[in-house]
Symmetry: D2
Subunit: 352 residues, 4 copies
């Protein structure tokens, strides 16, 4: 591979696609050579996202117009809608076995075929790849990602919940049966599809929960938390929409076990993330704000005492488009291509 | 009393003061005869709130310039900061014993002197009035309010949490020791004081929790929930700030007892609020949005199944300035003056 | 006609439809008996606008299901998309000649067939009605509206520009050839159609102009300003989108003629609107904010000196859904049904 | 000078200070060695701006605690309030003559003592430095800036207006007496001082003009436009506040002279900015949005035809904290220290 890896972004007309392009344009070891957007094929990227007008970027093409064999892509990011993704990646990896893939959809996040079928209502179209895919939470699966050919980039809600909870569950420090995750997301998490419920006037100046009791992200949480705890874990999880663009904040209610105090949980997280480039644990009692990680790949985690003895309130915050999607995808790319982990994703948060 | 009660608003330069004026200007049985704002005394209301420019309103005066004996006020709303309130009301009620008072501050909400001193760090300055004051949650204490001379208007967060939970605790339908209230408020709940943390650029485009583990509203919740349950109740409660002006949404996690299902809890609330003018219980499984109660005195409550058997997620929404403050204050005034409960506060929500 | 007029709202699933319902629900002389929404027919209004859940309203039906002859409608508001409107109204008025109509679309605003065809690219489908229709700017055409059967409710941008400029042009106080109108609107002015460009994340946290040099609203301005000035007037007009829901603010740059100073222009407007219920002229030098008229039918107008001798800056503000659409429509209804002009639309602005 | 210049930021607790730190933290040739904030002295930067928690930064100190002689600062950014700035810089430059200064306040922008006294109501405290200071609009005064010791960084409104207008005035392509600049700014332009008028609830969900007819930025515009045109120019300029954090958009109405068409003006700007790193001229007829330059040092300019023959509408957009303040300040630093002009300020805009 040359000094700069040749990169494709499939699905460049959505928000995670734009965020990939924003970051890759300034990545010293990456060169964007291919951008797809089926409905906008033939157009310049600037017609879809005017902020890219000053930059030279390849024109948008359809996926089916690509000859994967000769394309010479080192790594492809796949930011396509759920469902179509698995057939696109199956085809790509069959024709270009040396091209690595980071998939930002949910298609390859569940390891278990049966669980996939149960949550999504149909069989997986690429079961072998499903088996091969590595779950791309770099703070937990770093060594697996380094060797992977296909990485399933975690969801934004689930990244925000796993980063504080997985180390605590692994350490058997909290009661797995009493976890309540109250999550709040900015609007970019819902994508760029033109839906009435996502219009400015339907979203601004108000707040609401959605998918109460049955959100799909729970499948991913069930899998990862059960793995971490070594037994079946089912959490209470409620997502909400905040009238803001970027950011997820999770307020998490837990009970320490075996006498573990909130201070103990804090110490445990502090130690676990001692050397992490993208997780910052705040001093005990402080809690984070989403605005202070905006546009950065950073996750902030705070731990405070609840009023009820033995219980703690943990608050985590990240930017759903960066650490929650495209930044994390590039973090995975860096590991897969043996670059230093923070290459090109060390932006300082944009506040105000 | 004449056809229109003579009304004073103490503290008219804050947001709850403005909301009182907005509603009273169109109340068919009320006439605003006195407006105070110490720092803005001598000014017209339009200088403080330009939306009132087209209306005839009395000039702002200081509280100390008022001769309560001769003022002939039927009812005074007190929208003053915590602390000074109790001495102002003590003085007012001593000099004008026929003037009724609805207090929007926290000063008279706690019945217990010791609890007051513990939460606020000093003894109450008007302990007799503290004893006399009626807690003004009209849906629960209607008959007491009708006879009251001094009503302590509930807090906005606590109204939003009590309306769904108090009936369930009274009915012993939920486990009092396992209640988690994750509450989110618009910015007007924080008042109009010029603080850096409340500037547009500190608040918009982001989300955060505050007062984690030790918010003062908990004193009021402890009192009322313990009364309802007939034993000490301590809940987990976390307030958050939403970049919006009006609205509180509470996401509440509860466990039914004695086999009470989420559907049972829903049925119980539906029955309890059958005739309530200002509480609307949504069909089972639906949850509310704050924008749909904006500017109205209405509370919307939804109940849904949690994934964990036996657990329910309850979501309640109200406008913190209306049902959470000034609308509820006028609801109390209506009861105290023997007007129909909804007089002047039947506005339809403003959406979008 | 009975004590309450029987009212139909055609197109009740859009924002101006919802605003009509909000206002009509509290109008003492109006009863909503018919609501249409073709794509939502069969549904309850609460499914489309949850804020109406507590109210009894007729179910949504299709327009074609209505038997106009027997419907007994006193007045129909037509809040349908441009184009289809003219055939719907033609049919309605043919079948139910006693039903009066207030049309909120642009279909009947232009008096001139040729101008209509030039701006809209096709001939008008109801040219006789186009001739009969009265332009519904109540502050200018009150007596015509009182006698009208069909009123064309003005556009929101044009109302905001005409209220300050028409009296000045009629008085020949400003130079008609040097008017610059820089207009800014909240998002509800763009309606409720699901378009990518209207998504929260495309609109919030940014600002832009649109339709620069060729916006359709100019046809209406040309007509009315030319009528007022007694000669052809062509103004510079640029609309912009503000990340807010409600409100239009127009910043207007004019030059006084015949020695008319900014103070003279102010005095002229003050006198013209002396008895107007819904136009408030601020003291000289003060300029308005949209938030102070939100949810009300009020227009605020301010006049200030420009730095260049002889030039003035005029700023006008209104709520595009109320005075800019549905409130003005009800104002027209009141005049058409011989009710006092402000009946049911005297709400105080909702701020904050 | 070493590989990295030693940089001081005076006034690091305001928004332009934070933006300087954000950019300097990733500038390959700069090292932050000194941060001041008088009222926050002794605190860590993370207490003032939590987004910097993960970074090593010097503690905040007072200005008076600094020994300028021994501090060894290569370049100081001065982001202090107007007025105090001139005495601080006078003292600094007397004690450390080798330290270069980029001043972000208005103190050194006016060349003329009399004009300064007229606009600010007092004599300048450092008249010699006022004479020496170079006006830091890099696109116009590049060679002067390269040699300067003290650069007066332009204002945000004025940068946004000068970039499109100065080349046109220099080329005598537009009528200097008929320029109308209607400018709209995000809230960070107003700084971080705790004022009632800047609270979230006073600013969100509304729009207004301010300082109509007499804004201080006009002094700077008068000076620069008169220089460009070679004669006295007085423009109409009205600033407005948009409920957003970052961004300025100027809608500018001009008349071409000597038969210059809007297309000619566009061609002229395209040519003038052919090699500019931070000005991008859009295709004729397209106009920019502030969100597409957010967080970047880029200015977008669009030119469109007005309806009135011979008149054009020009729209320019930039981020007031980046190109309008701190990004431009670093652009000036780069020139003063002989670095490539775009070093460290080539961030891609953050949208959405």
């Amino acid at each position: 591979m040359a000094d700069k890896a040749k990169i494709a972004v499939l699905g460049a007309s959505g928000y995670t696609g734009a965020e990939l392009v924003r970051l890759l344009l300034r990545h010293p070891r990456a060169e964007i050579v291919l951008l797809t957007a089926d409905r906008r094929a033939g157009q310049e990227m600037r017609a879809v996202f005017p902020q890219f007008a000053p930059f030279n970027l390849p024109k948008l093409v359809t996926i089916e117009s690509i000859d994967w064999k000769s394309a010479g892509i080192d790594l492809a990011f796949c930011a396509l809608p759920h469902g179509t993704t698995q057939t696109v990646i199956k085809d790509l990896m069959a024709k270009a076995p040396k091209t690595k893939v980071v998939d930002l959809s949910a298609d390859f996040r569940l390891h278990d075929n049966a669980a996939y079928a149960r949550w999504y209502g149909h069989d997986h179209q690429a079961p072998e790849l499903q088996k091969e895919a590595v779950y791309g939470l770099a703070e937990i699966y770093k060594s697996e990602i380094e060797k992977a050919r296909l990485v399933a980039n975690p969801g934004c809600y689930t990244t925000c919940a796993q980063l504080p909870l997985t180390p605590l569950l692994k350490a058997k420090a909290i009661e797995p049966g009493e976890i309540v995750i109250d999550a709040k997301s900015g609007m970019t998490g819902a994508g760029r599809a033109a839906k009435e419920s996502m219009l400015f006037s339907e979203v601004s100046e108000g707040f609401h929960a959605y998918g109460v009791g049955h959100h799909r992200h729970m499948a991913e949480l069930d899998q990862e938390f059960s793995l971490a705890a070594g037994k079946d874990v089912v959490v209470s999880f409620t997502p909400h929409l905040v009238p803001m663009n970027r950011g997820i904040l999770s307020t998490i209610y837990v009970r320490g076990i075996d006498g573990k105090s909130p201070e103990d949980l804090h110490a445990l997280l502090l130690k676990f993330y001692e050397k992490a480039e993208f997780v910052h644990v705040l001093p005990f009692g402080e809690t984070p704000q989403t605005r202070h990680v905006r546009g950065s790949n950073m996750t902030f985690i705070g731990v405070a005492k609840d009023r009820q003895p033995g219980r703690a309130i943990i608050v985590s915050a990240l930017d759903n488009l960066t650490k929650g999607a495209s930044g994390q995808a590039i973090q995975n790319m860096n590991l897969m291509l043996s670059y230093p982990e923070a290459t090109g994703i060390d932006q300082v948060a944009l506040f105000p």
